[in-house]
Point group: C3
Chain length 381, copies 3
């Protein structure tokens, strides 16, 4: 075991390259990696081709997200359960975090918030629904660990409530001063991070036996060597950051030209792109009758966005960006998040999956996506 | 079997009459059928007696709804499971559909929407609550198939969310143009009908064993011969259409004179009248300790209204009526539907019924009815 | 048994004193009783020291609430199950009732409503969460009677919906006349009290076996003799009334000086003070691995406030106070109550407790408390 682990530790850049080539052979989605240099070059030579830049940056982020996800898993698996859990928990949504940071720096708060809300809804409804559907088309009924599912659904409910509070206030007759709203958001962000940290303590340490089957399932995958993974983590994160900047710079003009509202782009496009990697995992796990893993990835990712990524962005916004970001979402986004959390609770309550559960979740997602596409949503503050 | 089925196939109008007389003897409610000719004659000779016409048309619809329900069941039972399920699913709420179509044609969108929302709430809270109460007064605890109940509760939740989305939008600062709202409603209607169709595929075909006990229970009833049933279906539907037109024409003036708001009439009176037949079934099944059937009828009917009747009305409104109808409900109606769906989920979650569960559902219904009675609701667009 | 019961029936005032001294030795919280005479004297000599009066009256109410709770339990236990249940149900939140009556008489409807909403939220989230946390830190997993927990969660849901209805209406474009709102609140109050009475019939009579373990647990405590208890009940209630009046008289000015909004005081401070006694019970029961009792006390108390205390206050407001009180709460309070009811349903659904369930409930409470502290809430009508 140890020797196998040692060999790739002399990983040079050529070894990184060969690993990438191998990966591409296995997962065709990685072929999209060609768009990374293309979009970077294009941005240099024709920075005004917004729609093309937008489309290409979207295509370029998908394989990068997949690589990032593989690298994180590998590092997490090698560093032992506690540190590994921590790594997975902090880096699991690194793509979303990097994209959001780029948008934050550009002062595009609407895009940041739409992508947070969209990631929660997409992970809960689209990823979970897709897993139920794909798994259910192959297996008549699938069992999963309902304790973990319920735990995640509870956390999600809690997080959406926290996000609901400042948004609720903004609808009161005289909206609160921005300063009040910022103070409130800062406090909520800290509470959410503490709850998230304690949740990891609970699920990874004190009550890990309750969450057993989920973590077991992950061990079956073939992982990259650890040093290579770390190199990949750093390199790919930088690439994501680079492409994200191009994406954020082009999204507004491109969206207009493509006839999409900024909310639709953030809510649906960014969310689907950012979650592409996890989706591959969740769907293929469902096809392999490991619905436990699918549910864990889908709900766990949504919880991580709500309880970790969103609060981190609030905290970081005090250091980068024109002014502190609040947790004040527009009304429609709050409704969608709350509904998604309730749907997750309903669907995961029984501990069994069937194809029609997937249809219901996907229909809810289709309703939201269609609504966002059809109408100009209210602009939040 | 075949010979028994053949005999009534020579059903003449006199045979229809004798069947009706037999039915009336068994179910006294059918004696109200006398009001059908009465109200039709009255409308001819004194079309201005609105209050009288209103009361009599309500009384005339009740026995017609009961006959329609019996005829549909008979046809459905004889045509085999798949077609039968389809028939039951499409014709199960024929009374509500015909009344709503009459209102739609008259351009009374407020009445249509109130009766949709009211039917959902009435079926969920009043019919389910009544079944729990009546059954619970006779039996200490009653078990029912919680898989079916949960399935229906999930569908109901989904449908109320779909209905919530356009209503939510109308409360945004600048309400969307009617065209946007219509486009949105059309899309949602199509999604809902697809989900409904797939739901039938799931519960009647691919996973029918999960819903076993409910369909079994229905077989015990004595059914009409099939050809007679078809004749009855056509004749009674025409009568319902005729009476509904009188009802819709008289309701507004009558409601004013009786001190009721139009919303109360649509929400409570029309809903109770339209569901009278199913209610008889649901209550007597509960008394016979077949709570499975009661829950199936109550929730199934609510789901059918939400996922089938309402979207069909939206689609039909493009062909009849002054302008396309939207799925935009007034805020109070949306709240009541969502609450009813959540209450259904809570009450059906345990898979056991007791009299107090009925009291809670009925109390919720009483709260809604009293609220609608006391105050003038906000008028929707 | 009978003889033991007879002895203390000659309870003189000195015996009352010695019982009090004994109690103080066992429960140190009772030492705060010293503040009762102090605050009464202070109010006589310097009625303008609002902040001091506020703090001292809060400190004085805590031991009185504890004594009241002990006395009620003792009387209830001795008078047999039916009458005892009735007594517990009516006097269980006597402290909150007396404080609210004092506020009602002073016309401080905002304080009354905030303390009702706050008591529901505090009992559900803080008391239940604390019990889960304290119990969970000692025991890995704790089981409890989920039937009772679900029953209470359902009742709570029903009550919060009832409370939501008039509040919803007030947000309609043209708010209803006060007369309409009062009529509605009166009707709702009567419905809620009937539901509450039937709930007692259900849980104490017809289906008492379902609620078995909860009532068993309570028998283990050492109770006071019945006549002493009755004397205590009367005396302590009078003292609470006296101190409450001082509290209500000083709270507004004191809150301003302490930088707290009236809503925060009512919602958090009054609720925590009023529930101090039950909290001691709930927390120590959880530490003794009797989570059944904790859940019963926490949810039962919340249900009692919602279905009994609040409606009673509406009815009483027709006789004391400047004008009839409505059940119209401000929007934030309604949201918090609904969220608390949903959280109770989620947390109690599994029938098992662990420390992290407590963390989630307490985090939700912290979010609400922090929000109320940070911003001036919308003033209700």
């Amino acid at each position: 075991m140890g020797t196998i682990q040692e060999k790739p530790s002399v990983a040079s850049s050529s070894s990184v390259g060969s690993t990438v080539v191998n990966e591409i052979r296995q997962t065709p989605i990685l072929a999209l990696i060609i768009f990374v240099p293309v979009v970077i070059l294009l941005e240099r030579f024709s920075p005004e081709a917004h729609t093309l830049l937008f489309v290409m940056s979207v295509l370029a982020i998908i394989p990068l997200a997949a690589l990032l996800s593989r690298a994180t898993e590998a590092v997490a698996a090698k560093t032992g359960d506690a540190v590994g859990g921590l790594l997975n928990a902090t880096l699991g949504n690194l793509t979303e975090l990097v994209i959001s940071l780029a948008a934050l720096q550009a002062g595009q708060y609407l895009l940041v918030k739409a992508s947070i809300a969209g990631a929660i809804v997409t992970n809960t409804l689209f990823m979970l629904g897709g897993a139920f559907l794909f798994g259910g088309l192959k297996y008549h009924l699938q069992e999963f660990n309902r304790i973990n599912a319920r735990f995640q659904a509870c956390l999600l409910f809690l997080a959406t409530i926290a996000v609901l509070v400042p948004s609720l206030i903004s609808q009161v007759d005289q909206p609160p001063a921005l300063a009040v709203s910022q103070k409130l958001s800062l406090g909520l962000a800290i509470i959410l991070i503490v709850v998230y940290a304690l949740g990891m303590l609970f699920s990874l340490r004190t009550h890990r036996e309750l969450f057993a089957s989920v973590s077991h399932a992950e061990e079956h995958e073939k992982l990259w060597p650890v040093k290579l993974s770390i190199v990949m983590l750093v390199v790919v994160t930088l690439l994501v950051a680079l492409v994200s900047e191009i994406f954020v710079g082009s999204v507004q003009v491109a969206a207009e030209q493509l006839g999409m509202t900024p909310a639709f782009v953030g809510f649906i496009v960014v969310a689907l792109v950012g979650a592409a990697a996890e989706m591959t995992t969740a769907f293929s796990a469902a096809r392999a009758n490991r619905l436990d893993l699918s549910v864990g990835v889908a709900l766990g990712s949504a919880v991580q966005i709500a309880l970790f990524v969103a609060p981190i962005l609030v905290l970081v916004s005090y250091f980068i960006g024109p002014e502190p970001m609040t947790l004040q979402f527009w009304r429609g986004a709050v409704t969608m998040m709350v509904v998604a959390a309730m749907a997750a609770a309903l669907l995961s309550n029984g501990g069994r999956g069937a194809w029609y559960a997937g249809v219901m979740a996907l229909a809810l997602y289709a309703i939201f996506a269609f609504t966002l596409f059809v109408l100009p949503p209210a602009t939040p503050s």
